[in-house]
Symmetry: C2
Subunit: 238 residues, 2 copies
Amino acid sequence: MQESWPCVTCPLREFDFCAALLGKPSEELHFHQQPSWQSYRAARPGENIIIRNQISENVFVLCSGWAFRFFQLPDGRRQILRFLLPGDLFSAVMAFEERFYSSVQALTDIRISGVRRAEIHARLAVNPAISKALSKSCVVEIGDSDQLLAALGHRSAEERIAYLFLHLMKRITIKSVIRDQRYPFPLLQQHIAETVGLTPVHVSRVIGLFRDRNILDLSEGILQVNNLPELERIGALT
Amino acid sequence: MQESWPCVTCPLREFDFCAALLGKPSEELHFHQQPSWQSYRAARPGENIIIRNQISENVFVLCSGWAFRFFQLPDGRRQILRFLLPGDLFSAVMAFEERFYSSVQALTDIRISGVRRAEIHARLAVNPAISKALSKSCVVEIGDSDQLLAALGHRSAEERIAYLFLHLMKRITIKSVIRDQRYPFPLLQQHIAETVGLTPVHVSRVIGLFRDRNILDLSEGILQVNNLPELERIGALT
DNA sequence: CGGCAGTTTGATGTTACTCAATTTAAGTGG
DNA sequence: CCACTTAAATTGAGTAACATCAAACTGCCG
């Protein structure tokens, strides 16, 4: 399945993995000139792109939309490990291991690009931008995981949810221009719960409290922040 | 401070970072032949080796003893992110970033080796063993973090503690021969609590329960497992 | 013997979970 | 345009898990 859309729509491409492989936006490749080591596909919300223990010779990059990486637990519940925004590598681990131990699911309509792992390794030696993008991806993934660990281990429900909001707000801001503190926010309360280790019921209560205190409002896919300093006071890690 | 002990004492050196830099055990370098890009030091239990936001041009490897990497929280508490065993890189992130966002503290008497980051980068291009060791370190760190996240997010106190024991038992077994299910285990209950997000009081209660049920016993730095299948039933993630 | 760090135990309090019902919002088909 | 359906969010009542506070106990070392 090959279409004719550019790989990455995000404005900041400095460390984008896809950009490192494909070059600057002006050089973007389209259908008629796509190389054999690259493939595209689209997916609908809720669709699983990769499941645990699946083997793939491709390394995937999210081109548009939101997705998340998660662990499936034996009892059917799942732990969301990281949300993926446009330009994000599914995981740096994918570049090194053919077997993927976690799963990835689309949150919105998404487009993804797959690049052959062999192609990446062939270029790693000669193209420093690729190794730089890859190491950056490692650093960010490990750092964000560590922060989430600290939040889950030591913080209350309010603090965890505030932390998640702040974390995603920061990442969204890097990718697109935000006006009036209104952030596109496609997560359901279920997804928030699965990320910060609470029940959806309790997430609803906490968000209700935030709303009552006029700190923020979350509805229809938009996170509206009314009192950023207060949100930071609650959720900031340092 | 330069002494004359070998860098790594662990038997499995395939992916050891230090081994990749220094060569096979038989080629180990000692005091009189140590290169300028490498340094050694020792530390006592409780001593901080690196603290948050510290800048260092060295990448550290743990040569002997146990240590742990952690986040210091504003209220004085801390989240332990990962325990370090002999042969472990403090973090793969260290190889790429000069500023370290987490801290490392010695758990036992330890010896560490510091290698100049510039030296590593110079060798990365020409020595595939180094890039392999580094990528392996990334994969393991991210994978272990993800597992711990799943444990903290979705599992009970018993399950989290059992998971931590199983996780460390596996890593200890790789490094040294274990007889009679007796594992060297230098963690205090305080450290267990700081890892799995519980209070030391509750950790004590849970371990007491495990002891009453004859699943395991933990005292004087030894973890004695009496009923491994039961421990796995409680703590296994998959 | 006294002091200290670590562990254990008990009593009480709080946070977040569970279960269940209700409300809201967004389709969908007649 | 309006029932009907369905997914998501909200609310309430009761409960379980873990935290907190405080005291006692253990082993070790000077």
